[in-house]
Amino acid sequence: MPARTLFEKVWASHEVVAETADTPAILYIDLHLTHEVTSPQAFSVLRERGLPVRRTDRTLATLDHSTPTDRAQLFGEIPIRLESARHQVEALERNAAAFGVELLGLKSERRGIVHIIGPELGVTQPGKTIVCGDSHTSTHGAFGALAFGIGSTEVGHVMATQCLLQRKPKTLAVEVDGRLAPGVGAKDLVLAIIGRLGVSGGTGHVIEYRGPAIEALSMEQRMTVCNMSIEAGARAGMVAPDQTTFDYLQERPRAPQGEAWDAALEAWRALHTEPGARFDRVLELDATEILPMITWGTNPGMVVPVTGVIPASGDAVFHKSLQYMGFEPGQPMAGKPIDVVFVGSCTNARLSDLREVARVLRGRRVDKSVRMLVVPGSQQVKREAEAEGLHQVFIDAGAEWRESGCSMCLGMNGDTVASGRYSVSTSNRNFEGRQGTGARTMLASPLTAAASAVTGRITDPRDLLA
């Protein structure tokens, strides 16, 4: 057998039927995660056709996208104010009960953003195929799983058959040499990668992140990197599992235990790209050269170092983007005044992200011109942060500390940025209107977001970390 990549190994072991010239492969799905926004139409299809959810043991639902982040609404002391969100929450509660799907519901201690709770529970595991009706499903690839987002019709396919019809994607190796410098994080790395690849550079490909800089990352950092694979157009991003992965998973509530753990470990150790295996494309980067990054435009590929300047010229889209952002060509990013800082989302709302933010905020105050929202990625992250006293650091600094959910990442639950306002956000999309109609989003790392909150201006976090 020729040398195979990690992706090819996972793909091959999940082919129920291999692809032919006339038919796509039937790919088996080990784990189906679902949430309130992209599932209702799929449940309707099952109802219309009289079909059950075939493998409820491989299906896990949660509520995250449109859920409130204030306690009283979340825990039912008062009704969810946004009527449309309330309907969607109730629809998933009804559907999960009717179809026997496990739901980590509003009051569950295990609830959180779907891409944060999978790893936390230990259901995200190396070598699995994982899908969800959400493009940031690529996050789970950090464990060496093949994980990708699907549309609602496909959500129905997986519910009914535990399979998907798929053409085999191509492979792209992103080789990262060197080490990230102090004050530079996984978010900066992935923004730099997207800057290099462009927002469609990964279309049709599954990325494998490799090299010393990737191996040195923690699991939480690897998740940040894989999370944004889709922002380069890639279906999925993967990192080969190693000791860091196994240490993270051991003793997680739903990870294999005892003898099953030993057996799993043996299988997982074989999940790496063999020497001599070929990728369709390769991109090489040196981590040492990467600086803290920030976006200046309306897609994640429009990005420069915090110390950099907006490009001097560009096409019509460039100018439209700058007009939307209220920026001029050639301007420096550092020093631009801001209105809102959002720390949250499946990209950067895990415990390590919150620790970074606290590192900057401890003993400092959020500038009075800035509203800062800190939204943990899950209820577990919230509990852990509170056990360490991080919440007190945020509150003392003048930031708002909330219940978990997607919140201001996409503004479906009413947490939005007002039109024309500038937001520095640790989330993953700076599209027009993403955080609210007319909102102007700049994506950055938790450190950069926190530093900018303190000064009220775009700030290089290294200036405050000295």
Binding site: V17, A21, D22, T23, P24, I26, Y28, D30, V37, T38, P40, Q41, S44, R49, L51, H65, S66, S84, A85, Q88, A91, G133, D134, S135, G149, I150, G151, S152, T153, E154, G156, H157, A160, T161, Q162, C163, L165, R167, P169, V199, S200, T203, I230, G233, R235, N299, D315, A316, V317, L410, G411, M412, S419, R429, F431, E432, G433, R434, T437, G438
Partner: protein
């Protein structure tokens, strides 16, 4: 799904590159639990002003937009969120085909499941289409050919299975369900 064989229409042109699904339909419209009636939310943030009134200069609000079913868009159409609400909104508005040089993966897959034909053409044909808004074109799914008004024919890629499903109105779920015995056998073999 209804079968789709040929689509003939004058084009509407939105030349911007990287039109993401948040633009096609903003998140606040995703709180629906059905797939109907989303056409009115299509491109909402570009189409309506702060008071919810149609902006007269936006393409979809112009008299030319009425009855057109082919959209020509800049490179990398449909990137971003996996929301199938994007093709639902386009189809509900009346579109049956989207032409670009590049169409994002998940959007493309979602489009095909809703009878919206993703037509990927070369730079040259694309440039011509951008320069000639309103040109009458025909998308021929059977032959995978886009016909331009000057009789020119431009072929586009469509993998066999997708083409078969469009032409015959086959729904993929039915196909998958017919393969349940193979799926069960796989589960037993792999102890899943």
């Amino acid at each position: 799904m209804d079968s789709v064989t040929t689509i003939t229409s004058r084009t509407l042109v939105m030349a911007s590159t990287n039109i993401d699904t948040d633009q096609i339909i903003p998140a606040r419209f995703l709180t629906t639990t059905t797939r109907d009636g989303l056409g009115k939310a299509l491109f909402a943030d570009w189409r309506y002003d702060a008071e919810g009134q149609p902006r007269p200069d936006f393409l979809l609000n112009t008299p030319e937009a009425v009855g057109r079913s082919v959209l020509v868009a800049g490179r990398n159409f449909g990137c971003g969120s996996s929301r199938e609400h994007a093709p639902w909104a386009l189809v509900d508005f009346g579109f049956r085909a989207v032409i670009s040089t590049e169409i994002a993966d998940i959007f493309r897959s979602n489009a095909l499941k809703n009878g919206l034909v993703p037509v990927i053409v070369d730079e040259q044909a694309h440039a011509w289409l951008l320069e000639h808004p309103g040109a009458e074109v025909t998308v021929d799914v059977e032959r995978c050919v886009l016909s331009l008004p000057d009789q020119r024919e431009v072929s586009f890629p469509l993998e066999n299975f997708a083409r078969y499903c469009l032409l015959n109105g086959v729904d993929e779920l039915g196909f998958l369900l017919s393969r349940l015995p193979a799926i069960e056998e796989y589960e037993q073999r792999e102890r899943k």
